[in-house]
Symmetry: C2
Subunit: 391 residues, 2 copies
C-alpha cells in the first residue's frame, strides 16, 4: 500500500511528455491551458487618454475663461493643439490633445456658448498616461495559466486572437461488472444501474479532458482486455471501473500486465478507495478505479485530476485549504487517510455530511468540498483545522 503523497509523486514523475498544442479562438478558451507566453504588442494605455467626459485644459489656466476649440470623441485624433486661452471638449477614452495636461470633469464646468469656466477646482488630472498599466513587450500571461474570461479580454487587447493552448487529453472510460445494467433499464434482481460511467464522463469533462468513449462490459477477462487494448490505441488515459481489488473476478491487474503496462501501484492508503491501480505504457495512462461510485469519485479527484493537470501543462495546483471543523468527528481505525464529504458554510467552517460509506453516492450530492482525516488521527475536534479540497 502506497500513501497518497507518494502516489502523486509517482504520477507526476510518470509524465515525460505533456500534450501537444493547438490554436483556438478566443471565445473557446474557458478552462483551457495556455501553451505560450503572451507579451504585449503595445503600451496600455497606448496613448494619453481622458479618464472622464470633460474638457482638456492647461492646468495653469484653470481659473481662466477658456474657449472650446474642438470636440474630441473617443476614437478620433485631436486636430488642434490646446493653446493659451483654449481648451477641447473630450470624451472618456479619447486622446488628450497636445498642449493639455489636465481634464476637468464636465460636471465641474459652466459653459456659455463656446466658453467654459471651471467652477469646481479639483487637482486630479483625469489623464491615463501611455504605458502606465502595461508596457510594450511586458509579459502579460504565462504559459501554463488556466484561462478564463479576464484572460480572454487581455488576449484580445494584445491581439492574441488565436492563443496556443494544450490539447485536451483524450479519455476512454470502461465500466466493468456483470451486475451492471445501462441506466435506462430497470435493474433485475442482483443487478444495479451503471452510474459510474455517467459520473466519470462528466467529471472527466469538468477536469479538462475530452471523453471519446464510454463503454460497459461483463466480468469477462478477454473481453475487458480487448476493450482496454482498443481504447489505449485512441486515448491518452484509459479509466476502468470495477475489478480493481483482489477478488476472483478482479482482472484489472492481470490485464494491465498482459498489455505490458508498468503498474506503479495497486493499493492506496485512502478510504474509501484503497484498491486502485495506476499503470503506464509509454505516454498512455491506465487507471483501475473502484466499481462503487463514491470510491471512484474520490479516486478521480485525488489521482486523475492532478494527472490531467500535469498532462495538460496546467501550472496551477489544485488547492488544499485549511479550515476549522464545525463539530467533532471520530473514527475507529486510522491507517489510511479518510476522505469525507463536507459543506463549507458561510462562516468558512467545515460541516460534515451524513455519510454511510463508499456506496453512498447521495452523500456527496450537496458537498462542496472533501475533507480529510490524516493517517494516525482518530479524533478531529471542533475548531481543528482540517485539509479541505474544494470540489
Amino acid at each position: 500500500m502506497i500513501n497518497l503523497n507518494d502516489a502523486l509523486e509517482v504520477i507526476s514523475n510518470s509524465v515525460s511528455r505533456i500534450m501537444a498544442s493547438e490554436r483556438i479562438a478566443l471565445p473557446e478558451i474557458s478552462g483551457r491551458i495556455l501553451a505560450e507566453d503572451i507579451f504585449s504588442d503595445m503600451n496600455f494605455p497606448s496613448f494619453d487618454k481622458s479618464a472622464m467626459d470633460g474638457y482638456a485644459i492647461k492646468r495653469a489656466e484653470i481659473d481662466d475663461d477658456l474657449r472650446v476649440v474642438e470636440f474630441i470623441p473617443a476614437g478620433k485624433m485631436p486636430e488642434l493643439e490646446v493653446v493659451d486661452g483654449c481648451c477641447s471638449k473630450i470624451m472618456t477614452g479619447a486622446m488628450i490633445p497636445k498642449g493639455a495636461d489636465m481634464v476637468v470633469k464636465v460636471e465641474d464646468v459652466l459653459r456659455h456658448g463656446d466658453f467654459i469656466k471651471v467652477v469646481q477646482t479639483a487637482s486630479k488630472k483625469n489623464i491615463l498616461f501611455e504605458g502606465e498599466d502595461v508596457k510594450k513587450g511586458d509579459l502579460i500571461l504565462s504559459k501554463g495559466r488556466r484561462l478564463n474570461s479576464v484572460h480572454a479580454g487581455l488576449l484580445a487587447s494584445v491581439g492574441a486572437v488565436k492563443p496556443l493552448v494544450y490539447k485536451k487529453p483524450l479519455v476512454s472510460i470502461i465500466s466493468t461488472g456483470s451486475e451492471l445494467v445501462s441506466p435506462e433499464n430497470f435493474p433485475g434482481p442482483s443487478q444495479i444501474r451503471n452510474s459510474n460511467s455517467s459520473q466519470l464522463q462528466v467529471l472527466a469533462v469538468e477536469s479538462g479532458t475530452e471523453v471519446i468513449e464510454a463503454t460497459q462490459v461483463d466480468d469477462n477477462e478477454q473481453r475487458i482486455f480487448n476493450m482496454v487494448e482498443s481504447a489505449l490505441a485512441k486515448s491518452d488515459i484509459v479509466v476502468l471501473t470495477g475489478g480493481a481489488s483482489v477478488g476472483d473476478l478482479d482482472f484489472t491487474s492481470r490485464i494491465f500486465d498482459g498489455l505490458k503496462a508498468v503498474t506503479h501501484f495497486t493499493r492506496l492508503g485512502i478510504q474509501p478507495g484503497k484498491p486502485v491501480l495506476f499503470a503506464t505504457i509509454g505516454n498512455k495512462y491506465l487507471f483501475g478505479l473502484s466499481g462503487n461510485p463514491v470510491s471512484s469519485f474520490v479516486q478521480f479527484q485525488l489521482l486523475l485530476k492532478p494527472l490531467i493537470a500535469r498532462l495538460s501543462g496546467n501550472k496551477e495546483q489544485d488547492r488544499i485549504i485549511k479550515l476549522p471543523l464545525s463539530e467533532e468527528k471520530t473514527r475507529k481505525k486510522a491507517e489510511r487517510q479518510l476522505f469525507f464529504p463536507v459543506i463549507i458554510n458561510d462562516n468558512m467552517e467545515v460541516q460534515s455530511i451524513e455519510y454511510h460509506g463508499s456506496a453512498h453516492l447521495n452523500s456527496y450530492q450537496s458537498a462542496n468540498a472533501m475533507a480529510c482525516f490524516p493517517i494516525g488521527v482518530k479524533i478531529l475536534k471542533k475548531g481543528d483545522l482540517v485539509d479541505v479540497r474544494p470540489l
Copy 2:
C-alpha cells in the same frame, strides 16, 4: 443612483417567467439547472448485498467448519440457501443468499478444499441492507439544483437518463465605440482593440448562457438602435458596452427609451461601474455596461450573474463569504461600494492586488475573488472581515 442591494431586488423582481425546459443527455448536464424533482424509482441498495469479498455464513456458526456450496459473483442471483453447516463464497456487491446473515472477509478465513474455517473473528456483518441509503420514492434531487458529476451518477442510478433542465438564456453582446478595432487588427492612433467583447462572451458562457451573437458598432445612434432591435428579437438578454454614461455620445439610454423598454436604473452605487443601465421589455432584459473592461467585468459579476441564475431557475445563490484582510487598505471617498481584485491565499486571508483603476484589466488576471469596501467605510484594517465574492 441606486445601491447594489436595491438593484438586485429590482432585477430579481423583473423576472416574471423563467426559461422553458428541455431534456438533455446525462453527459451534458454539467452546470445545467435541474427543472424537475427527481425521485428514486428503487431502494438503495436494492437488495441486501455484500460489502466485501468473502463468505456468506450464519453468524451463529462462525466457529464451525463450513462447507462452501456456491460461488456468488456480483450480478448473479444466489441459487442456494445457506443452510446449517454451509456457506457461500460471495463477491463485493453480490446478493446475500437466503439463510446468511454475515459476510466474513476472505482474508479472515482459511480454506481447505470445499471447507472454510474463520480464523479471525470479527463482529461486522459486512452487509449493505436494502434501502439503507435511499428508499424508493425518496426525493433524490430538487428542481433548481446546479448539476455536476455526482448528480450525473445519481440521476443514472435512478434511471433519469434524460433529465429536464432549464434552457440556457440566449445572449447577444454589442460593443459600441468608434475607438474600437477588432482584436486581430493593430489599433491606429487614438484607437483601442475591442477586448470587452471576448471577455463578455466567455463570461456569459461560463455563467450558463448561450452567446448567439457578438457584434461591434461605431458611435452611431441609429446603427446601434437597429442592432439592439435586431438582437432583441432573437435573445433573452442583450448586453451593450460603451455609451452607458451621460456624455454626448452615450446613446444607450435614449435607445432603450426608443425601444419602449422600461429603464429601471442608470447609475449604480458601485466603483468601478457606476454608469450602468438595466431595462426590460416583457421577458427581455437589456444591460448597458461600461466600455472599459474592468467596469464591465464587475458589472457582469454583480448584476448579470444573478439575473442569469434567476432566469435559469438556479436556486443556489452565488456566495458571498467573509474573510480577513491580510493588510490594511484605505480609500478617500466612500459614497459607493468599492470592488477590488483579490487573491484568497492558502491561509484563507484576502490579499489585494495592485490595481490602477477601471481600465486596468491586467489587475484581475490573477484574482480569484472580488472583495468590497462597504459604503461609508474608508479604512479596512488588517484582519477585518470583508465580503468576498469568489470568481
